[in-house]
Symmetry: D2
Subunit: 286 residues, 4 copies
């Protein structure tokens, strides 16, 4: 088991008389992720509404804020106990056996135009043995053919751009991997997370986008950017792609500072709480 | 009230030993749409599974079919009693008051890249009085700036292509209108329908894509292609865009014929069942 | 007549053992633009080659530079005496009468995908009276439908992006106007210039991209971004679009500073040398 | 030496009172390609103008034709004596030594967005030994990663589309290869040709697009689609990409039939005229 302590600090300047925010910064509560403690701080005058998606466990926080400065801080201590499975045991689920509510994760989406990647995906991966190994080969392909380059892309960049331009940040790696998986009829989606153990050379801690792939009737997590220690990934939001899970959707004229994120692993050997470590196993956070 | 009788005949040649189909051709059952009678015909040896989406009412039919010819026919008699409201009474719902499950219809999707249409939408429609009139102005803009041209687009064409190239078919008109609405924070989505009263000069009856827009906490239907009589629209599927609601998603090597669709209005004056007619009112099918 | 004094200072850090530069920063010498004085300064050890395009008058300067700092400065005093014609007298040249070497300026190019803008251009401008007035209407459309926004685009942005996203800088305005003109069979191309009289609110002086349109067998200059005083435009390069006329094409690993440009108008009333001023006439710089 | 006899028959229905045509169907006359005999047939009432590009040798034919049917036929007997060089002897020309009029073939163009392919090209081919072998490796990459599929693309498809979708016809193969070469600072352009010896399974004879690459100060011809016998390629037009060299540019409302092309090799052993054959040598047609 791992324990992570993190905080997210958001800072905005509202220019309109009133602006609306939909935030997704709180740790998801799942069977494998327990929020031990948490605290949300925001100006007392602000109205908020909370909502938790019953299936995806995304926790949404809606706020209206008046003109002026708005500071929001969330901090939490979260225990995560990811499921580790033998990769060899995992198989792709034939489309005939997919649950109906998983079908949507085969469809192309804003940033994952799988419909345009069919020929490429079939040519590159179509002949491979199906299962986790094929999914891992996709992850390796993306990692080896795209260069991590800060600020090389923007919020309009999609999988099709990335397969052309071959540079990007974590969300671009994830979108391309998702697009390829769907092109092969493997359900795939995006998870926004916080990433303990990010290579400090990659810059300050930040939200991290990773991929979930549906194998053996369970969602498994892979990080095609290769910058995280996956056992140290803490789930925040889950959706088809980045369009579904912005950490902040903002309506109104607002100037934003970059979010400030801190994260650390807490250990307690007596309690069996260890540092996140790399594993050769398949990781499920559900 | 209107009564429509329709049939959809699908014809495939399966080339692989086995192929999978996910069909969405059956009439949705909603509070305003009653299936009076229906019949689904397919080869007796075929395995099928049925599923109905609890919220959207999409009825999905999954089939596995072996190599060889596959003929499927669905016919139904459906009573529709669309709600008609005064346009003037309808208002846009402030984002702060949107139900959480409606938020997804603000996000960009595969064919509706609303994130790229913000400046255009604000410039063209940002200053207008909010409400049905603004939505109708968007519908008119799309109708007046895009030319209906059969076979000018394909299944990869998106709203961004259409605002550049200005030709398309019903789904392209719908995608562009949806994209513009979302860019203005008006929730919008696509409905696949059958269209009684299609202008016969537009060709044989076919599935028809229209737009639903969220106003006054209800979904209202508009047809930016202008080729249908909206009171005669029969709902089949509802989703973010065409990626969500193909009438047939096919997995495996299959040769498809164009679907053959027949539709007619049934009248029974004594029973109050009339021909679909144009109306100046806002139409909701929920 | 106008006299402009300008200087361009370039500063590079070459990281490779050797890097190649192709610069286009010198004032073109044309029948209407006389270089009164000029001076090019660069490290004495550097090898250079000069080339002037016989038709377009672009002056290219090739350099090889070794690892280390490279500073280049060009300054010139240039007399310009643009031709001013009555707009009403100018007519579009029928394609049957276009000189063969002008045909290339009808073809789509990297940043001006006129082939995708045909329907739009015909619908918006196809019914207008042909001639300068139609070209001016295109210029006005672009100016009124695109917002000048620094850093909103990059070197990959093309006319198709701009008609979707409706923001950009001078080169984006120019590319879109060129694309629309070509879609209407009006030859159009780009000129890189220095812009006396740029609105100081638009930032420091910089290279400026404007449009040339072929009317009455002569090239006329228009600035769809509207930020310059066209009589004060000094021609540097001419090409199909920005791909043809970068002020600096660099081969090798080089860190670039933003070019530093200074420009001022010199007056000498006795000699008939005046300040550039706005004019309602059509301007040709050939 | 090879001798080819070919004919091109064009058939149009002019709908407007008058339409303009710019045709590029005549065999280029170069030092290695001699037109032994030729005949152009068109209605006697039609006005035509001829033009030959001094550098590229493209022969353009301009016509105005009135409403009604227009049939044009060109036939020629052409001797071609392509230069064959040892591949090992050919080297890439450093940018510092490129003639100035070759620089344009490094710039991105409508269908060859080399600016977006830099990272891919460097990653895939940047480390290879420079010279013909590297160019041939690019040709092989394109041939092996794109599937020839008739009607899978259209006249808007560019290199960027092809690297995503991985299907296309000869012009798409050529555009992608050109784009990759330019991204590596290897000048490259397109040649439209007629192709003796096309695999009959590829369909009837048609115009064929191939690539020219600048090595050792000469242009060499490669066919990335792999469907032709390159010694049997007869040059018609040369340009940056397909935008420069349509076989017919048409202005006005015209219905076009697909061009009808016939081609055959003539042999005369006594005169040293042989059948085109595959060669392992590098081919230059200049």
């Amino acid at each position: 088991m791992n324990r992570l302590r993190y905080s997210v600090s958001l800072s905005y300047e509202v220019m309109d008389p009133m602006a609306d925010f939909l935030l997704n910064i709180e740790a998801a509560r799942t069977s494998r992720q327990v929020v031990v403690a948490e605290q949300l701080t925001f100006p007392p005058s602000i109205q908020t509404t909370h909502y938790t998606d019953a299936v995806l466990c995304n926790r949404l926080l809606r706020m209206r804020a008046p003109k002026g400065h708005l500071a929001i801080r969330y901090e939490a201590v979260v225990d995560i106990d990811h499921r580790l499975d033998d990769c060899d045991q995992l198989s792709e689920v034939p489309v005939a056996e997919l649950p109906f509510d998983v079908w949507h994760y085969l469809a192309p989406s804003r940033y994952c135009e799988s419909d345009r990647l069919m020929e490429f995906a079939m040519r590159e991966f179509g002949g491979m043995q199906r299962g986790y190994a094929r999914v891992y080969a996709i992850r390796e392909w993306v990692r080896n053919h795209v260069r991590f380059l800060s600020r090389s892309t923007n919020e309009r960049t999609s999988a099709v751009d990335t397969i052309v331009e071959r540079t990007g940040v974590c969300r671009d790696f994830a979108h391309l991997m998702i697009g390829i998986c769907r092109a092969l009829s493997i359900p795939a989606r995006m998870s926004s997370s916080l990433d303990y153990g990010a290579d400090p050379t990659m810059g300050a801690p930040d939200f991290h986008a990773v991929v979930e792939v549906y194998l053996s009737h369970r969602w498994y997590l892979l990080d095609p950017s290769g910058v995280s220690i996956p056992t140290g990934l803490l789930r925040i939001g889950t959706g088809r792609d980045a369009a579904d899970i912005p950490f902040a959707a903002i309506f109104g004229k607002v100037e934003s500072k970059r979010p400030f994120v801190e994260i650390q692993a807490v250990t307690d050997t007596a309690a069996g709480i260890e540092m996140p470590m790399f594993t050769a196993k398949a990781i499920s956070t559900w």
